[in-house]
């Protein structure tokens, strides 16, 4: 056992690869939050009245709310007055081509291995790069525009398509939904907006790369994806962040609305700075993600690979309102060192013949805690609702924790809800077997973990799957079991 721990130690201790800081001027507001700050942000963004009303309602509600404490997390005291609520890279002028983009920014993307140039040339991926809080560059817009697809920064959508924003904003995640969602609604600075018109199949994967950049700037992104009747879109979100000593708060909101027979696939690879190996620093990630299967036979899929953040509080959920609607949640969550994750999903069945599937794979190493928390609720009128949940936990070593908190509430007799759960440890016999064939311990762990998570990784779009595999291995470097 001692040897195993030594081995574990050896493999879990490698430093965060993407820890670097880009030096770009920020147009930042001072620290602190009050109603004037909310008004300032709204005015700064030249928003219509309905946006200000949305923000103020949320802010006033937020003042009355308390931070949730039910998660299996130890959250240090957060001083909300010690946070800068708005920061935007200074805009020089409208950019015509990539040559005009700040070279610092471009090199940041290159370090991440995702140069915009290549993105443009390769794969047909349209990139809406979110650097801090304002979208800097949007590509492929013309191609998308031809099909009537709107893919823009949230601020731009507010200016150019206020009707659409007003119609759908808050439909899946109301401004006062929970503490962090309310905070986001009050102060969010930007994000992405997607609208797929009726009958349109989005011809490319849409992706956004988030990076948190200015020191002490909480990042409050808001993404709204609307898929109108008979449309399809696959959206990718990937994040890495620079190394930081101080904790950074992130409270994003993602809303998806799928109308009749529409299908939305939302894939995330999340790799925010998790803190160093002693648990210092790292991102606090309190995210509200929810999809509304509004129309009949609509489909929403959440696929996620979570390796980053010091604290993760995240439950991508689906409300299956339309009859025959389908929802899936496929997740791999890795925690190492002192990371804490309380993540899972909620599937709320309201429509008839609705079907949901949950596959959650937790991997814990180091001294981390990894919890799955899931709710499956079947409403009284959800005839023939079906749910299948599978929650697996994999432990590397014996100083980490894995916890499962499934909640099932069924109010309809014709529904079927199944739950399976397993907990396993990476066996040293498996590692020795790999060693004996010439594979180093570190590569063996990467291989075994990727095998364990394969079911979920296979659901990711190709280019993401490759990145995710690398990420799993990097995240667990130094942490063999």
């Amino acid at each position: 056992m001692e040897d195993q721990n030594k081995l574990l130690d050896k493999v879990t201790k490698s430093e965060y690869q993407y820890g670097f800081v880009t030096d770009i001027d920020s147009d930042a507001l001072g620290k602190g939050l009050n109603e004037d700050v909310v008004r300032w942000i709204s005015a700064k963004k030249n928003e219509p009245q309905f946006m200000l009303d949305f923000r103020l309602k949320a802010y006033r509600k937020w003042l009355e709310m308390e931070m949730p404490d039910w998660a299996y997390l130890k959250i240090p005291e957060i001083d909300y007055q010690d946070i800068i609520y708005y920061s935007a890279p200074k805009k020089k002028k409208e950019l015509e081509s990539l040559d005009e983009v700040d070279p610092e920014l471009l090199s940041t993307f290159e370090k991440l291995g995702i140069p915009l140039e290549e993105q443009k040339l390769l794969a047909g991926v349209a990139v809406d790069a979110v650097m801090d809080s304002v979208s800097v560059k949007t590509t492929f817009k013309e191609t998308l525009a031809e099909k009537g697809i709107i893919f823009s920064s949230f601020s731009e959508a507010v200016q150019e398509h206020p009707d659409l924003v007003q119609k759908y904003l808050g439909m899946a995640v109301p401004s006062t939904d929970n503490y962090f969602a309310a905070l986001n609604a009050a102060v969010f600075s930007d994000g992405s907006f997607v609208y797929i018109p009726k009958g349109v199949r989005c011809p490319m994967e849409l992706s956004t790369y988030f990076r948190i950049n200015a020191a002490n700037t909480g990042q409050f992104e808001r993404t709204l994806i609307v898929a109108d009747d008979d449309s399809y879109v696959s959206y990718l979100e990937g994040c890495t962040a620079p190394m930081r000593d101080e904790n950074q708060l992130h409270a994003a909101v993602v809303e998806i609305i799928a109308m009749d027979r529409a299908e939305v696939k939302y894939s995330t690879v999340q790799n925010w700075y998790p803190g160093d190996k002693n648990g210092k620093g790292g991102i606090y990630n309190f995210v509200t993600k929810r999809g509304l299967c509004k129309g009949e036979s609509s489909k929403i899929f959440w696929n996620q690979v979570e390796t980053g953040s010091a604290i993760t509080w995240k439950y991508p959920s689906c409300i299956l309102l339309g009859d025959n609607s389908v929802a899936e949640f496929n997740s791999v969550a890795v925690t190492n060192n002192y990371q804490q994750a309380d993540t899972g999903t909620k599937m709320v069945h309201i429509g008839k013949n609705t079907k949901s599937t949950i596959v959650s794979k937790g991997i814990s190493a180091g001294k981390s805690d990894n919890s799955y928390r899931g709710l499956v609720r079947v409403a009284p009128k959800a005839e023939n609702a079906r749910n299948f949940s599978q929650c697996d936990s994999l432990l590397l070593g014996d100083t980490c924790g894995a916890h499962t908190f499934p909640y099932i509430e069924v109010s309809n007799n014709s529904s079927v809800v199944e739950h399976e759960a397993t907990t396993s440890k990476i066996g040293e016999d498996q590692i020795f077997y790999c060693n004996q064939r010439g594979i180093s311990t570190q590569d063996a762990v990467g291989m075994i973990v990727n095998g364990y998570a394969r079911e979920v990784i296979n659901k990711l779009p190709m280019e993401f799957a490759v990145e995710a595999q690398k990420l799993l291995q990097i995240s667990l470097e130094g942490s063999v079991g």
Partner: protein, 250 residues
Amino acid sequence: MLIVKDLHAKVEGKEILKGINLEVNPGEVHAIMGPNGSGKSTLANVLAGHENYEVTKGEVSFFGKDLLDMDADVRSKEGLFLSFQYPVEIPGVSMVNFLKTALNEHRKYRGKDELKAGDFLKLMKEKKELVEIDSQLTNRSVNEGFSGGEKKKNEIFQMAMLEPKLAILDETDSGLDIDALRIVAHGVNALKRPDNATIVVTHYQRLLDYIVPDFVHVLYNGRIVKSAGKELAFELEEKGYDWIKKEVGE
């Protein structure tokens, strides 16, 4: 190629090997026999570098290098192969991916380029025929859902892919029916060359009808108590191990 001198090893604090001496030269087949609990599998695992086994005394040289100083993966890349008694399952890791990684690690170690996907698959096809292993199996995850016999065949298949200088077959015959035994033995014999060697660890003489040893050693209570030619195996089969126990004075 392999010289073992006065090897002592402990597992979970208990001394299992109490002074093993053994020399294996290229082209030779050695059989190590002995009753249950005599230390046969321990010897195989110690040579392969399992971390649970602690070497307390003695030395092992492999082509002049200190084997005990190498990590398990390095021993493999130096040409030592262990066919496991109980091969583990690795869910979700395909045989193709596993073997490709292993083979390329070996090639890298020898300063060779990685094998191209096409060449790798060609090699796999060729070696699969040798052990008559079903393509269905190599398309699955490592050992997952394999029967006992399939697992053993898969071990020999991997051995064929990696072409070791020294192969240690740990109870490869256990759990095999007579047909599978023949196939496995055929694979082992087909891989035999003047520059490689095999150590067959077995409880029964049965396997030695197919893989004919040059030397037979009897391991008892952590020591090799008797070494002779292949006729020793027949003698053991006939008389059982009690005869050896008496001979060493117990």
